[in-house]
Symmetry: C2
Subunit: 246 residues, 2 copies
């Protein structure tokens, strides 16, 4: 809007006060943020859902969301929701899409902005027992409350795209990880099998992995070396990130 708003009643230049009253008297909607919170555990991609509390959707699962406060930016609202629900604050978070179909919410017009976030599930495990939260395998997510299945599908698609273009995935892993874990992660997100040798070759050629000179423990076979991602180096030369095409 912004311009047609001024035009609506003719071509006179309006004051902000005029517009303000026009806006407030008429064209307003409820605005919410819904977070699609991804985690990675036991070699599976997970999503954090809450059991619906609403009559119509009793027993169904829904995304974590809340109304945007009057004086709150959208990103801020998304971070607030994540913090409230998981206790985590330093995470990857990105706006995905806005869903505003007239009848998407049974109670009233509620437009929702979807955010995708990636968290390290180990850091979160303690906070999960309160209320009706549960980590679901992404493959097992079927019906959901509201239009949340559509929002979830859109977010997963975007994640699959983005993870090839950017080093997002490391947000889902422990600080120290083996190459096998990294490959399992990509396989889980992209829902595909990758060649182990080519995967290793590709990652080593990008040269963003720091060898921690440590190895896995408690594995019943030859332990793998542990690495961390060199974010500083990536920030300096992001072009070296060869798109993971696979």
């Amino acid at each position: 809007m912004d311009e047609l708003l001024a035009k609506k009643t003719g071509n006179t230049i309006k004051t902000f006060r005029t517009i303000q009253s026009e806006v407030e008297s008429n064209y307003h909607v409820a605005l919410s943020v819904d977070c699609v919170i991804f985690g990675f555990d036991e070699n599976k991609l997970k999503v954090l859902l809450i059991r619906s509390d609403l009559k119509n959707y009793e027993g169904q699962w829904s995304l974590l969301g809340d109304l945007v406060l009057p004086e709150e930016n959208l990103d801020t609202a998304a971070y607030r929701i994540l913090k409230e629900r998981t206790g985590l604050s330093d995470v990857f978070m990105e706006q995905v899409h806005t869903f505003g179909d007239v009848n998407r919410h049974p109670a009233s017009r509620v437009v929702t902005v979807a955010y995708c976030s990636l968290i390290n599930i180990q850091h979160h495990k303690l906070n999960i027992l309160d209320n009706e939260l549960h980590w679901h395998d992404v493959e097992s997510v079927t019906e959901m409350a509201f239009d949340h299945k559509k929002i979830f599908d859109t977010s997963l698609c975007q994640l699959q795209k983005r993870v090839k273009e950017h080093p997002l995935g490391f947000s889902l892993l422990p600080n120290k990880f083996s190459l096998r874990e990294l490959q399992n992660l990509y396989e889980a997100i992209l829902n595909t099998k990758l060649d182990r040798r080519n995967f290793r070759k590709k990652f080593f050629s990008m040269d963003f992995l720091i060898d921690l000179e440590e190895i896995e423990t408690d594995v019943p076979h030859r332990p793998g070396k542990l690495y961390k991602f060199d974010y500083a180096k990536f920030d300096r030369s992001p072009k070296k990130w060869a798109g993971i095409a696979f």
Copy 2:
């Protein structure tokens, strides 16, 4: 939201009526749609802007937008705005991002959903003389009203990304086009120079161009053959679209 909304005052299950009054009494914002309408003319990528009518931004340019009507979907609003302003309806249109910073609009809280659309500028030329519309070269767009420069930049970036992944560009061209025009289009959007032979090789290898057995007229040199894009074939096998990496 949707869930926390129900939780806000405790853990009792709420009726929709309760929620409805809560929503309407409090957390509402004005919602608008802004369209970044791209065109292509004289080998330059253009964007359609309107002169701001608002006091604060007198003389500055802004995107075409409007408030979303109470019973109107977001996509519908975007198409309506495009239709009202250009008279065109069958175009490419895609949601880009939602901008909702608290102070983005000087009058009140206005959250805006940005859409990117691509139109064939020749089809539009007649409707442009009314009000203060103007096609700007994208390179010459500097200051804009509101946060529209940021919205514009985001949209252009997304266009540059999307045009490599999908055959969007053809929406900007006449129905019949030469390979040179097609290459000029990609060069304008991506703001780069491409090798002519490799460009041709790539497009012909995808085999989505239908040779119309016609040639350009009124060019002061050897005329090029004319083509159209085979949308039907693309729909059947979109995987043949080799990402234009260049």
